[in-house]
Every structure is written in structure tokens, then in C-alpha cells.
């Protein structure tokens, strides 16, 4: 009856040791996270809110089309209307920093796993573990190592959101037509070149889906990050819960939804050939190709004349 595994104690002890031994490392990490957060936050918070709304709407038009542009403007105006703009900007900065770092780590890990079966076998359970462990549990050691504020929120978000990035990158690269990869090999291309010229371009839709998932998971973590004093929309939601303030809760909550929809649609449109930007790009490529073809044809006809 008295048998009990003190697993929690061990892990906690491990983190204590980590903190004691590598405090300089975590201190540096904290500084970097805070600096990154501040930089991104500054970009969105410095211009007047309405200017940002217009810029975002223009971006939406380029990425997806006019309907999305109108929708995003309306959504952002709603956030301003419920006086959650500053919180939303904080949350956005947090999501962008965490997602950026998560992409930076997970895409190369996914590529590595795709090229090496052993790595894949090791990473699979690790990713399962990271994704299923209740997100709150990360917060405790993160808090211990990085102290209250943005830094523990970034690390917890990043770990939580990484898994789909790794998985979808690996899946995408493994799913590239085997014959096309063989073609690269058969013509004597270096594996790195095959990766760059064949595997990554062809796996791009899957990698993009992974990045989209990373951003969505980061956002879902933002509310929880309010617990560790990261502020933003999550901070207000936490405050609303503790004060049983339904009004504030709804306003902050709906702002999270607006942000989520915006980020999802933006990232989902990457590489799908939607919006004004890709229309322009397609037109310019088509024009270039047509010009090239015309040049070929013209050269051929002069050759033919000379030949005759």
C-alpha cells in the first residue's frame, strides 16, 4: 500500500538541478525571448491601431482576396471596439515569436526524421509526449527556469506547438514521389541539392499545413500563458475567471477567436496561389515564359532563313 513511485519528485529534482547548473543559460534564453517579443510587439503597437488595420487589410487582399480583406478589417475593428487592441497585439507578438521559433526547430527536425529512420523512430514518441502532456504542466518548470513573464509563455507555447510541424514536414518529404527523387539521384545530384531542389519544393504544401498548425496551436496556448503573467488576451481571460467577470471574459475570448481566424486564413493561403499577389506573380512568370518562348521561336526562324 505504501509503494509509490516518486516520479514527480525526480522530475522536479531534475529541473531544480537544471536551474542551479544552467541558470546562466536560461537567463540568456529569457533575455533573448523578451527581446524578440519586444521587437515584434513594437512593430504592431507603435503605429496607430487604424493604420495597422489598413495594412493588415491590404495584406489580406494580396494573400487571399477582397472578401478576406473586408473580413479582417471588420474583425480588427471589433477588437478595437471592445478595447482589447493592446492585449491582442501582445498576444499576437507572443504567438509570432513562439511560432517562429517552433518552425525554426520543427522543420529541420522533420527533414532529419524524413531522411533517417532511427531519428524518426525516436522523435515519434517524443512528439506524442510533448503534444499530449497537459499544457499547464510545462508551465511549472518553465516558470521555475525562466521566471514570470513572457519567457516561460514562449517556451511552453513553442514546445506545445512543435509536434505538428515536425510530423507534417516529415510526412511531406517522405511523400514526395519516389521516382522524382530517384531522378535527382540518377542524374548525380548531391543529397542536399535533391533536398533543396526537389524534396522541399514538392513537400511545400504539407510543410505549410504544418506551419499553419503550429500557429493555431500557439494561439490556443496563449490563453493558458496568461497564467504565468504573459499578459495579453490570456491575461484578461484569467482575470475575468478569477473575478467572475463575464463581460470581460466574452470580450477577450471573442478577440482570441478573431485573431485565430485571421492567422489561420493568412497562413492557410500561403503557397495556394490565392489572392492578388499570386495573380500578379503568375502573370509575371507567364509573361517571362512567353517572352522566352518567343525568343526561342524567333531564333529558330532566323536560323531557318539563314539555313535556306
Amino acid at each position: 500500500m505504501e509503494f509509490r513511485l516518486p516520479v514527480g519528485e525526480w522530475i522536479d529534482g531534475f529541473f531544480d538541478w537544471l536551474e542551479a547548473t544552467f541558470s546562466w543559460f536560461f537567463e540568456g534564453m529569457r533575455e533573448i525571448f523578451i527581446a524578440m517579443f519586444d521587437a515584434v510587439d513594437w512593430i504592431f503597437a507603435t503605429p496607430p491601431a487604424l493604420v495597422v488595420v489598413v495594412l493588415v487589410a491590404v495584406g489580406a487582399l494580396l494573400a487571399r482576396g477582397w472578401r478576406f480583406a473586408v473580413g479582417s478589417a471588420v474583425g480588427l475593428l471589433f477588437i478595437i471596439g471592445v478595447d482589447q487592441w493592446d492585449n491582442a497585439v501582445d498576444s499576437l507578438a507572443l504567438v509570432l515569436v513562439a511560432a517562429f521559433l517552433a518552425v525554426l526547430i520543427s522543420v529541420p527536425l522533420g527533414i532529419w526524421a524524413a531522411r533517417n529512420d532511427t531519428v524518426s523512430k525516436i522523435l515519434k514518441p517524443v512528439m506524442d509526449f510533448l503534444q499530449t502532456l497537459p499544457a499547464f504542466v510545462y508551465l511549472i518548470p518553465a516558470l521555475a527556469l525562466l521566471r514570470v513573464g513572457v519567457a516561460p509563455a514562449v517556451i511552453a507555447t513553442l514546445i506545445f506547438a512543435m509536434a505538428p510541424g515536425v510530423r507534417l514536414t516529415e510526412l511531406g518529404i517522405r511523400g514526395v514521389d519516389k521516382e522524382v527523387v530517384e531522378a535527382g539521384q540518377a542524374f548525380g545530384a548531391h543529397p542536399r541539392r535533391i533536398l533543396r531542389q526537389i524534396q522541399i519544393p514538392l513537400a511545400m504544401p504539407s510543410i505549410m499545413a504544418g506551419i499553419n498548425q503550429i500557429i493555431m496551436l500557439s494561439l490556443s496556448m496563449v490563453v493558458i500563458a496568461g497564467l504565468v503573467g504573459a499578459g495579453g488576451l490570456g491575461g484578461d481571460v484569467m482575470q475575468a475567471i478569477s473575478a467572475l467577470n463575464g463581460r470581460l471574459g466574452w470580450e477577450a475570448g471573442l478577440s482570441v477567436v478573431v485573431l485565430a481566424v485571421l492567422l489561420d486564413r493568412f497562413t492557410a493561403s500561403f503557397g495556394k496561389g490565392m489572392g492578388l499577389y499570386s495573380t500578379w506573380r503568375k502573370a509575371s512568370i507567364a509573361k517571362k515564359e512567353a517572352a522566352e518562348q518567343a525568343r526561342f521561336d524567333a531564333e529558330d526562324s532566323t536560323e531557318a532563313t539563314v539555313g535556306a
Binding site: D177, E179, V180, E182, A183, Q185, A186, F187, G188, A189, H190, R193, Q197, I198, P201, L202, E289, A290, E292, Q293, F296, D297, D300
Partner: protein, 432 residues
């Protein structure tokens, strides 16, 4: 060590997938059947040895699962061999560093794939130039060269299209152009035409043969289609269950199958397109020399019981043919020269004519169809029964069913020959 005429040599190649592959090779070497190697171990290629001569089309033919795709991938090292060696023009593929192997692939051997394997995000011209790009050729130069090759395969005007805008046949021409542009001696083609419609496939086969006659590449072609193998192959290796069961020319394989498996396989082949006049012809029976004169000619025809005979010069080049009753008349008149009755519409065909193209000439010829070598010499004849027997797969049957000539009555001829002045022509029919 290496003969100059050999482009690629494979010796004792084994490919075993799964665990204990080296063990498995030893077992196979000692004669263990491949289905008794144990679970998790699959022998895809067993003891394959062959030589491919420079400039020939060497076809590896087998059903799916026979190991042919694995075999071709061992020739450029996409699948490392478990045992055995591959050398291309004196350089080993099987025993070399990854760097050297990439260099060999760039310079010596290129490949065409079953499902084209084009880069979908690149234009036709950039796909064709891909091999050159990897060889490190500057852009302008490689585009210029790629354009030439694109034109050769008939895709002029499509340079700036993307593969998805092209039909299957055109896509495979891009694949072929990409391999040709790399300008390697050896070309590996893995079921290159199998994914195409039959009509387009036939067109591609013709185009390949045409290109081959111009460029003189060494081509190793994989197919499961025996008709395709017979049509394009100079030599064919037939594979079954990982082993090469026979290597030979299409005619060898058709006429002397090494075992029941090959024999069963070749039953469905359209023989008329593979077999040539040379392979079914008989020695000419009644041949008359131009200078021999009417009496000798008539004697020969009587002895052979024939109603007509070919007339040849001293060096056996053909002059024409004579009918027995014309010669009979000459002999009666006491003429000494045969040339007045020689007919020159002999209709003889070159020795490499396919059986399919013999039927009409055979119908039109009055005598068994003559066969000429490249210098115009009469080297054989094909009686119609022989043609029919060859079609049935039993050329020997023609011997039993020897042609029944319908010559003039012998006694009548004898009379004329003896008297040298005849008693009048008998009731002769035109014989065949």
C-alpha cells in the same frame, strides 16, 4: 581488361532485401531456392551476369516481380548490389565512393523513368536541362543544348510549358530528352513506355529506334511487354524470379526458347514482326546459271520437279527466272542462249524483311519467293508452305509438307531432251 566494345558489364549480381543479406547470397550460391531463405529476406536479383555492347539496345524482359526494376537500379547504383560487380566503360559502380558514384551518374549513365519523374515545378526546358545543370554547365549553354534536344524529340514550341500541361507521351519525351541531353554513353530506360497508350507507345518505340540509329547510344531497356522487347531489342535477357533465364537475339528467343517458361512466354508474340526472311528460308533448289544454256536449265527443272527456276550470274547475283515451257520451246528450237526467255520480275526480297512483309510478295511471285543478301545474291527461297509453317511456330513442318510442284510430264520432257527436237508441247499447266 575491358574490351572496347563492351559498354556495361554486370557480373554475378545479387540483390537481397531484408536481414542477413550476405548469408542469403551464400545460400543462393549453394543452390537454395529463393523461397526458402526465411521470412524477412527477399532475393530480388540472383546471380545476374551479362554484357551490353556499345551501341546496342539491350532489353531486360520479365513480368512484375521478376526483379528487372531492381536490376536496372543496380546498374547506376540507386540500389547498391548485395554482391557482384557492375562496370560501366571500365569504371566500377559497385565498388566506389558516393562522390565518385555521383560523378559517374553525371558523366556516364542517365535514366528514363516509368512515370516520367519530371520536376513538376519546372518548365520543359529546365527539366531537359536538369542533368546539365547538375553537371555544372552555365545556364546559357545548357539552355541552348537543351533546346536542341527538345527539338530532336519533337517538342519544339513547348519549351516554356510545365509538365502538367503536356500529355503522357509528351511528358515521356521530356524524360527522354532530359536523359539524352545529359549526353551519357549509357541510357537506362525503366519501363519507359509502359504507362503510355498503345498507339503512342508504338510511336515512341519508333522514335527511340530512329534516335538510336542517329545517336548510337547504348540503351538498356526494361519492359514486361515481350512484343516491345522483340521490336526494339537487339538482344533480350528474359528474367524470371530474379534470375536471367535466357539472353539472346529476338529470333534466338523465339526459335530456341531456353526452357518451358520462355516458350510459354513467346507463344503470344507476333512472330511475323520478329522473324525475318533469312530465318525461315530454304536453300534454293532449282538455280540455273546464266551461261548454262536451255538444255541444262530444263534438266535441272526436271530433276527437281519444278515448273520454273531462278537464273543467277556466276557470283550468284540474281538475273531473273525462267518458266519450264519457255525453256522447253527453246530446247525444241535448238537455241543455245537462255536470255531471250528470262523474266526479270522475280520479286525477290532482302534477307532482313520481316515475315509480315513477305505475304504479298509471296503471293505475287510465280516461284517460291527468292531471298537476296545485301549484295543481291540469291541466298534462299521461301515456298509458301514454309511461310505458313513458320507462322504456326513449326518451321520444320514445311519439310514434310514439301511443295507439290506441277511440272510438265517427265516422259515428255525426256523425249524432248533426248531428241533435242520436240514432238510438241504437252498439256502443261503453269506451276507454282
Amino acid at each position: 581488361m575491358n574490351d572496347d566494345t563492351i559498354a556495361l558489364r554486370a557480373e554475378g549480381l545479387y540483390k537481397v532485401f531484408g536481414r542477413h543479406s550476405d548469408d542469403a547470397v551464400l545460400k543462393l550460391h549453394r543452390g537454395t531456392p529463393r523461397d526458402q531463405l526465411g521470412a524477412g529476406t527477399t532475393a530480388a536479383v540472383i546471380d545476374a551476369s551479362f554484357e551490353v555492347r556499345r551501341g546496342e539496345i539491350f532489353v531486360v524482359m520479365g513480368l512484375s516481380g521478376s526483379g528487372k526494376s531492381t536490376l536496372i537500379r543496380m546498374l547506376n547504383g540507386l540500389h547498391p548490389a548485395t554482391a557482384g560487380t557492375v562496370t560501366i566503360g571500365g569504371d566500377s559502380i559497385t565498388d566506389t565512393s558516393p562522390k565518385k558514384l555521383r560523378e559517374l551518374r553525371r558523366q556516364r549513365v542517365s535514366m528514363v523513368f516509368q512515370h516520367f519523374a519530371l520536376l513538376p515545378h519546372r518548365t520543359v526546358i529546365d527539366n531537359v536541362a536538369y542533368g546539365l545543370e547538375i553537371q555544372g554547365m552555365p545556364r546559357d549553354e545548357r539552355i541552348a543544348r537543351a533546346r536542341k534536344v527538345t527539338e530532336i524529340v519533337g517538342l519544339k514550341g513547348w519549351e516554356e510549358k510545365h509538365p502538367s500541361e503536356l500529355s503522357g507521351g509528351m511528358q515521356q519525351r521530356v524524360g527522354l530528352a532530359r536523359a539524352l541531353a545529359a549526353d551519357t554513353d549509357v541510357l537506362l530506360m525503366d519501363e519507359a513506355f509502359s504507362a503510355l497508350d498503345p498507339l503512342i507507345r508504338r510511336g515512341m518505340q519508333d522514335q527511340l529506334l530512329e534516335l538510336q540509329s542517329e545517336l548510337g547510344k547504348t540503351i538498356i531497356f526494361i519492359t514486361h511487354d515481350l512484343n516491345e522487347a522483340m521490336y526494339i531489342g537487339d538482344r533480350i535477357a528474359v528474367m524470371r524470379d530474379g534470375r536471367i533465364v535466357q539472353i539472346g537475339t529476338p529470333e534466338d528467343i523465339l526459335t530456341n526458347p531456353a526452357n518451358d517458361y520462355v516458350e510459354q512466354f513467346v507463344q503470344d508474340v507476333d512472330r511475323t514482326k520478329v522473324l525475318t526472311a533469312e530465318s525461315v528460308m530454304r536453300p534454293p533448289r532449282a538455280v540455273v546459271h546464266l551461261g548454262a544454256g536451255p538444255r541444262a536449265a530444263l534438266t535441272t527443272m526436271r530433276d527437281e520437279q519444278l515448273a520454273g527456276a531462278y537464273v543467277v550470274n556466276k557470283d550468284r547475283t540474281i538475273v531473273g527466272w525462267v518458266r519450264d515451257r519457255d525453256v522447253f520451246d527453246l530446247v525444241r528450237k535448238g537455241e543455245k542462249d537462255l536470255s531471250s526467255v528470262i523474266q526479270d520480275d522475280h520479286g525477290a526480297v532482302p534477307a532482313d524483311t520481316a515475315l509480315a512483309d513477305l505475304f504479298i510478295p509471296s503471293l505475287e511471285a510465280a516461284l517460291p519467293l527468292g531471298v537476296l543478301d545485301h549484295r543481291g545474291r540469291l541466298v534462299g527461297v521461301i515456298p509458301r508452305v514454309t511461310l505458313l509453317a513458320a507462322l504456326g511456330g513449326e518451321p520444320e513442318a514445311a519439310v514434310q509438307a514439301a511443295p507439290r510442284p506441277d511440272p510438265m510430264p517427265t516422259d515428255e520432257v525426256d523425249q524432248v531432251l533426248e531428241a533435242a527436237v520436240g514432238a510438241g508441247a504437252g498439256d502443261t499447266k503453269e506451276a507454282i
